[in-house]
Symmetry: none
Subunit: 226 residues, 2 copies
């Protein structure tokens, strides 16, 4: 089943739910990841970039709403689908969830068939909207999935950090990313690195891909330009 390529992150603090939902989704051919609190969820999401995230609203550590907001802030996950799990009748949760950027909600108790149907419906849209896994900007082509970069049809191999950095900047050409933005997205929230680290990586990118593509905006940050 070609669904194997489709990845769903399932987040709930109740192992039972994790199991039953996970089982059904797996049976439907999806690749399922799980986390038992919001913090782990955000971390995993950043790392694995799932196509759909199913979040329980009520959780310890970080509730679903907050997790959703966090995830929505990550540029690469902007298009990720998010659905909430909520007990029936919790209108408030549903509202807040939609405001936080949810695409759907699923009410407990969970009915496997309905669940799978909803998931399919959600992903159907994703599949049709997503022919463009390749981004081309000038003489540069970025294939996020394959972790490859082509410059004038020549393949350039970039180490992880450089790739992530390029990927971030290129995700919104023209937009200035502050150093903070960059640290946040490429290095992660908690990591602390020295002040010149970003520069060094930028330099390497410039070396390999051409100076002019990476514009410095002094006092602010960097941007990608075509």
């Amino acid at each position: 089943m070609k669904n194997k390529e489709i990845c769903i992150l399932l987040v709930d603090d109740e192992p039972d739910i994790l199991e039953i939902v996970g089982y059904n989704l797996t049976a439907a051919g999806y690749n399922v990841l799980t986390a038992d609190n919001g913090k782990k969820a955000v971390k995993l999401a950043k790392k694995k970039k799932p196509h759909l995230i199913i979040l329980d609203v009520m959780m310890p550590e970080m509730d679903g709403i907050e997790a959703c907001e966090q995830i929505r802030k990550i540029p690469e996950l902007e298009k990720t689908l998010i659905a909430f799990l909520t007990a029936r009748g919790e209108d408030y949760s549903q509202m807040a969830g939609f405001d936080a950027g949810a695409d759907d909600y699923i009410t407990k108790p969970i009915k496997p068939k309905i669940l799978v149907s909803k998931v399919k419906a959600l992903l159907r849209r994703w599949e049709t909207e997503k022919p463009e896994e390749l981004v081309t900007l000038g003489n540069l082509t970025i294939d996020r999935e394959a972790y490859r970069v082509l410059l004038e049809k020549e393949e350039i191999s970039l180490p992880r950090k450089e790739f992530e950095l390029l990927s971030l900047l290129a995700s919104k050409p023209g937009k200035v990313f502050t150093r903070e933005d960059i640290l946040q997205n490429v290095w992660g929230n908690e990591v602390v690195v020295g002040g010149r680290t970003i520069d060094v990586h930028i330099r390497k990118l410039r070396e390999k891909l051409g100076d002019e593509k990476f514009r410095t905006v002094k006092g602010v940050g960097y941007k990608f330009s075509v």
Copy 2:
């Protein structure tokens, strides 16, 4: 509200539902069309190409499921969002609806706030046409996100302080900003700088963007004028 451009087709055979749902959607700024059976719905959909269609499942003439299937067959409406209205607990309807190509379902009894939230969530994805955050004033264009300024289509590069200053003044053309206002906003509350600093920056802006745009109001401050 710019939602006026967004068009929703609402289909139900009960006038009450049509009215209450229609009212709420209209109040939320959407443009609402209605039909009271499946046949009319398909016809209207073909003609008006709404962005979202809300279909009651149970209807005379042609039920929602069939209408949905019909609509999905129309190439132009392939991407149209479809949501079903269904009584709670009708699992069968829900399943069939998803199979027919629905994107969501809404259960009766209808709660207006939830309804509007769901509609927003559904359309959010569609709405992702980005409204550029550009400010244009006469021959000048300011793009805060990209940190760019265009004068007669020529890009002018401005250092941070100059950009912030321009940005502030241009945020309310005509309004006079006192020196204090300016210090507050561009330099920040705690910073103390000499009395002539602002003048110097104004001068640089005048040099680069034209004298006439920055008017001195003696004893008070500066303003931007078109």
